[in-house]
Amino acid sequence: MKLEQFYDEHVDKVYKFFYIKCLDRSTAEDLTSETFTLFIEQLEHQPITDNKKYLYGIMRNTWLQFLRKKYQQALVDIENIEDFAGVVEHEIADFDEAKDVGNRLLPYIERLPEKQRLVITKRLLEEKSVGDIATELGKDKNYVKTTYKRGLASLRAILTVPYMEGSL
């Protein structure tokens, strides 16, 4: 029963971390499942003194493998992190503390090309009308509408494949 309790204590965080990183429920569930399956298997073969540390080590490697497979990048930075549990806590805290969706959207909006970023920020976060934005930018409404549509398409693309090189 101890292991089951351990599972209950940690599964939410493991899932949440994966979800925050990939923004895809199915992927997060797969990675969570993979992490715990490997953890349980390893327990059978060797004594483990610190379950939490071991679990987070597996989690780190699972995430690393996923990144390599999906993004085809070697990410040495992650391998060097010793306190991956700390990283996980930090990521989850950042996500939870940004209480509304707009704040959570900021890091992704910042990755847009400048013109799109400007219009998207004013439209989605500042909730300004197309007319107001056009006046502010000294452009016509068609420009704002077109740039907005393109910005949204770019934003959706980013959110579908949210990982950015250089991050964790």
Binding site: L3, E4, Y7, D8, V11, D12, Y15, K16, Y19, I20, L23, D24, R25, S26, T27, E29, D30, T32, S33, F36, T37, I40, E44, F95, D96, D100, V101, G102, R104, L105, R123, L124, L125, E127, K128, S129, V130, G131, D132, K141, K145, Y148, K149, L152, L155, R156, L159, T160
Partner: protein
């Protein structure tokens, strides 16, 4: 943040970042049930090794060991057999389509109309159970369409059976919501004006899939526990167009369309085709 499109908002909403309780429970069962089986077999192996070094008991112990192992294997086989007995299989290529069965049943119906079609596994094999508006029910062999017994149950609309997704797709979508659970019945029915595939599980669980869009409109866990679709943390990842993963936002998916992010003041708000995202981006 009313102007943020729903599909975008969903991804970053706290509820979607929280683990699905059904997934959590299923994974736990899977991990610890399998682990328990593995331990039992490992214990038996250790016992056998010990007894080999004690010849006097070896014969007696061997009989016990074989008996216990056989019981475990038999239990496992029985579980597999039970599942095979009731489970609607994943491979449905060799069964007639819903349209075919509807056409056959309609000829038998007379003035009555078809109100529901269920696919079930019986002892004799896969059968379609067709319900009519006059309350009668008729069974048909799912492969041949032959009536199995004469007919002795919200009516489907005239084009209600021309679903955009197939039975196999609906089955997969539902299975993805409840991995590992055994599907015992798939029913096409009208649920409050929405044509859905209602997929039932051996543990009492149920998943309703919109027959037109493939979106999940309801997930109910074992023993009638779990939330209904209105509170479901299902995001669009598990919608039909994505071949089932994740869960769906019931607000959008029940209607099969995005109705927009609410009213906006100011000019040009009608240009909010940002809501064209149907939540199926993934």
């Amino acid at each position: 943040m009313n102007k943020i499109p729903r599909d975008v908002r969903k991804k970053l909403d706290s509820s979607y970042a929280s683990i699905d309780p059904t997934f959590k429970a299923n994974l736990k069962n899977q991990l610890f049930k399998e682990n328990s089986m593995a331990k039992k077999q490992s214990s038996l192996k250790s016992l056998a090794t010990y007894l080999r070094s004690t010849p006097a008991l070896a014969v007696f112990a061997a009989i016990v060991l074989v008996g216990t192992t056989s019981a475990l294997v038999a239990t496992d086989r029985a579980n597999v057999a039970n599942r095979e007995k009731v489970e609607v299989p994943a491979q449905l290529d060799n069964v007639l389509s819903l349209d075919d069965i509807r056409a056959i049943a309609t000829k038998d119906a007379g003035d009555a109309s078809v109100t529901g079609i269920e696919l079930e596994k019986e002892d004799s094999g896969l059968v379609y159970k067709v319900k009519f508006s006059d309350g009668s029910v008729r069974l048909y062999d799912a492969k041949t369409g032959e009536a199995i017994n004469p007919a002795n149950g919200d009516e489907l609309p005239a084009n209600g059976l021309q679903g955009a997704i197939s039975l196999s797709e609906a089955r997969q979508i539902a299975q993805n919501q409840r991995p590992g659970a055994t599907i015992t019945k798939i029913e096409l029915e009208n649920e409050h004006g929405v044509v859905v595939y209602s997929v039932r599980f051996s543990d009492g669980g149920r998943v309703d899939v919109n027959a037109q869009t493939g979106d999940v409109v309801r997930v109910r866990g074992a023993s009638n526990s779990g939330s209904s679709s209105s509170d479901d943390d299902s995001d669009d990842d598990r919608s039909g167009s994505n071949s089932g993963s994740g869960s769906d936002d019931s607000d959008d998916d029940r209607s099969g369309s995005n109705s927009g992010s609410g009213s906006h003041g100011g000019d040009d708000d009608s240009e909010d085709d940002d809501n064209s995202g149907s939540g199926k981006d993934n």
